[in-house]
Amino acid sequence: MPKTLLDKIWEAHEVAPGLLYIDLHLVHEVTSPQAFDALRLAGRTLRRPDRTLATADHNVPTDGSNRAAQIRDQLSRVQVETLERNCREFGVPLYSIGSERQGIVHVIGPELGVTQPGMTIVCGDSHTATHGALGALAFGIGTSEVEHVLATQTLQQQKPKAMRISYGGELGFGVTAKDLILGTIGRIGVEGGVGYAIEYAGPAIESLSMEGRMTVCNMTIEGGGRAGMIAPDETTFRWLDGRPAAPAPVPREGWTELRTDEGASFDSEVEIDASALSPQVTWGTTPGMVAPVSGAVPEPASEGEERALVYMDLEPGTPIEGIELDRVFIGSCTNSRIGDLRAAARVVEGRRVSERVSAMVVPGSQQVKAQAEAEGLDEVFRRAGFDWRSAGCSMCLGMNPDTLEPGERCASTSNRNFEGRQGRGGRSHLVSPEMAAAAAVAGRFVDIREWEVAA
């Protein structure tokens, strides 16, 4: 019987029905302390330290502090120090603050090559779906499940239903992976993927870079899906070639079998014309409240949308391009990889950030930061008036000092525009790195398709 990519990975990892083996467990400081505590309390050990990897990301200040002791916020400091202590005690490899490999957990996995096709990967974080871009089954879990994986390297799981979203055509000029996924969520809704693992397919996906694919899979959860996946291909193999944890040579033959067979059936199939998508901007307080940049803020169609417009302080009918901004944030596990920074840098090269706007760029990892600096991107951003920061989650959720003030309006390359997500009372609009960069310069949203890049 023809099988889906999900079927193949699932079957290879079933220890027994309902018990799934986990190949890689990623750990960060926020959702792990209670799990380590529970292990300690029950006198249990960590089953597979060699399949576990930790980093500090959510709490780290992005000001260049390089030791936990330098974190001024006491609770944040305790949380990072607790992670360091737990990792020492249980033998978990850790890239904490100050390490040259530290960064957002979903950026460093693929970057180090520990994320590989065909694996099962979990992390106490909903954006774990990011890793599915390399053809893995990757999903977020809660702290009780973190404890379960630490102790047993397995999870009690029911197999999700399978959905395929197929994109016809190619993305147009100026339309990015971020726009593709925002447009998709606008279409299926924030609940559309609940209960599903979503496989993204079609020419528009195949021609995306590895980084673009990660952006797409990353936001699967915003459409309700727990896992997003893309069949590995030459783009994937080239990405993995030479990475520290990747096998050398990369086993192309074995990995090409990791794709959905012709004729395999899905529980749900969605088709989207990629060529019809425009650059997207969210106007509300869920990622599904989204419009083309050339459009306008819509009339509210529900109580939730009414509430969202009040919170966002927007009137129906306002052109998206007329929305003025106070802040711009380029970063987060959705859009902070080197390709994202290069794309944003091309847009700002030779220009200045609007006087009205305070803008920051936060590389997803210390390695991305080093690479960007080697290419001189930091100088491009600095000259334009951007604040150039160190790696971390930063203003994606503001558990660290980077936050919005009440009432501030921000163009953000992150993944969630929930009320207060980036700071209490802050108003977030989700966009691509290119659109965020252009918005920083213009002080309002602009259609990136009409932007002239300096020669």
């Binding site: 290879a12 220890v15 027994a16 018990l19 083996y21 890689l24 926020v30 959702t31 209670q34 505590d37 029950a42 249990r44 330290p49 060699d50 399949r51 990897l53 959510h58 709490n59 305790v78 607790t82 033998g91 180090l112 520990v114 590989q116 694996m119 106490g124 974080d125 909903s126 774990t128 999903f139 977020g140 879990i141 809660g142 702290t143 009780s144 499940e145 404890e147 379960h148 102790a151 047993t152 390297q153 397995t154 009690q156 029911q158 609940e191 609940v194 959860i221 727990r226 944890a245 096998p247 869920t286 529900s302 109580e303 939730g304 558990m399 969630r416 929930f418 207060g420 997500r421 209490r424």
Partner: protein, 186 residues
């Protein structure tokens, strides 16, 4: 985890859809390294809005897609610590649903019109054994995955159960584990 059979009592109504975990428990409270004491921070920002009124009754009744967003188990911890024992909604986000079942907070899915009807009542009775919610003189059936139901009814500790299957896991590792990255060798 305590065993659940019947949860009965007054209901609290939160008439909103797509309630995300950032609202249930905002990020600043995720810095705590303890597992208890989150109830006081439940809906921290919303609770300051005029007209906000949510009592710590045993049953919370709410709108679609409850618990969307992050995987933070702090959200169920806060709801449970506040006093809720069951949450009734037309639908839940996947990770949130699973997190609730791990701590013995019972998520109950009812059709939209039944949730709407229940919102008009003051009390209800949720019976997990029979899988029915009774209110206003009626009984409405709900479905729970049999395995999850069995664990909730018995109040079983998942980790403990799986630890007893150590040999199966070892056999899997010996025979079928794929070669993969060795994080300790990086």
């Amino acid at each position: 985890m305590n065993a659940i059979t019947v949860i009965a009592g007054n209901i609290s109504v939160l008439r909103r859809s797509d309630v995300d975990t950032d609202q249930i428990i905002p990020k600043q409270f995720l810095k705590r390294v303890e597992r208890t004491g989150f109830g006081q921070y439940l809906f921290y920002d919303w609770a300051k809005e005029p007209g906000w009124d949510l009592d710590p009754n045993p049953i919370l009744v709410t709108g679609r897609n409850f618990g969307c967003g992050s995987s933070r188990e702090h959200a169920p911890w806060a709801l449970e610590d506040f006093g809720f024992k069951a949450i009734v909604s037309p639908s839940f986000a996947d990770i949130f649903y699973s997190n609730c079942t791990k701590i013995g907070l019972l998520p109950v899915i009812l059709p939209e019109e039944e949730v709407e009807a229940l919102m008009g009542e003051t009390s209800a009775r949720v019976d997990l054994e029979e899988q029915v919610v009774s209110f206003g003189g009626r009984e409405v059936r709900f479905e729970t995955d049999p395995e999850i139901r069995r664990r909730l009814l018995a109040g079983l500790d998942d980790v403990g159960i799986t630890m007893q299957r150590g040999e199966e896991i070892t056999a899997y590792e010996r025979e079928r584990e794929r070669s993969g990255p060795v994080t300790t060798a990086l």
